[in-house]
Amino acid sequence: MSTSPKRHLGAGREPCAVCGRVAGPAPAIDERLAALEREHRNLADRSTALEQQLAELGNQCVVMERLHGALEHAEVLAAIQDCVINVIGSEELAVFVPSEDGLELRPAQCFGVEGRGLAPVPVGAGVVGRAALGDGFVVGDAPPPPEAPDLTACVPLQAGDRLSGVLAIWKMLPHKPTFGPADRGVLDLLARHAASALQLTSVIARERAGRTA
């Protein structure tokens, strides 16, 4: 078998006798190069998408760890606040919890909303009250309610058919004005798992109270 290097250059390609460089058409090599470049770009795009997905999963892991690592009701509320500020990116939020008789929602954890004069609301009344009945709001799904035009989200914290509270988020941080799909994923996870974490810590508190009574 011949091992001449000329075999690999393709038809019509001859090295220059002076400088040794190869001139002339090389369709097979050019096509192969183009195909490799397309494949490289494709792989780079997929790598970027995977990195993004990994980052989002990482954030969701952090949220789960924070919510379920708390054994006190107040710690769960603080964890919800921390996650909204540092994972979603808003410093205007409030968590409302139901009263003992379930007829009212009271602001239990607030950050950056002192000027809004939040007060207890009857279940079913206003944006927060309606969210408690399952009629929540997330920006992008519908226009914001007229009584709260700068609301980003108002969602029930619900596990099964048990309502643990309502989370309201107003303006996003100035340098992160958009509430995107990844943030929606975090909010949905937060709403479900915050509900069960709040319920669990309430059960633990009642048990402790029962033991010390």
Partner: protein
């Protein structure tokens, strides 16, 4: 070769968890402090190669902690990246005036954080 050491200074457990998750993929040793005062003390004791510093913290803010680090010969040269929810120009100017080297806004973007850390410490 010994691993590079990063000091994470933040009063938020969420941010510490996020930073650990992002940085654990790389060969760094991570130390944690929960406020500016503890951050200054641990920086002097541990001599990290880089500090990621929150701004709004109890006992001592990140700006004040930065100034103290710069005033101490032992820690004056340690690069400090401020990690904060405040992305405004004014806040960034305050940070640089306090002596920080760089700035990253929350919520933290993992790729951006890794890129900056590697810029100061190498891959």
């Amino acid at each position: 070769m010994s691993r590079k050491k990063i000091l994470l200074v933040d009063d938020s457990n969420t941010v510490i968890l996020m930073e650990k998750m992002i940085l654990s993929k790389s060969p760094y040793d991570l130390i944690v402090a929960k406020d500016g005062q503890e951050g200054v003390e641990k920086a002097a004791a541990e001599r990290p190669d880089l500090i990621l510093m929150d701004v709004m913290m109890p006992r001592m803010t990140g700006f004040d902690a930065c100034k103290q680090l710069r005033a101490n010969g032992a820690t004056a040269k340690i690069p400090v990246i401020l990690v904060t929810t405040r992305g405004e120009q004014e806040s960034m100017k305050n940070g640089f005036a306090a002596g920080c080297n760089d700035y990253i806004t929350k919520p933290i973007n993992g790729g951006e954080l890794l890129s900056k850390v590697r810029g100061y410490l190498g891959a």
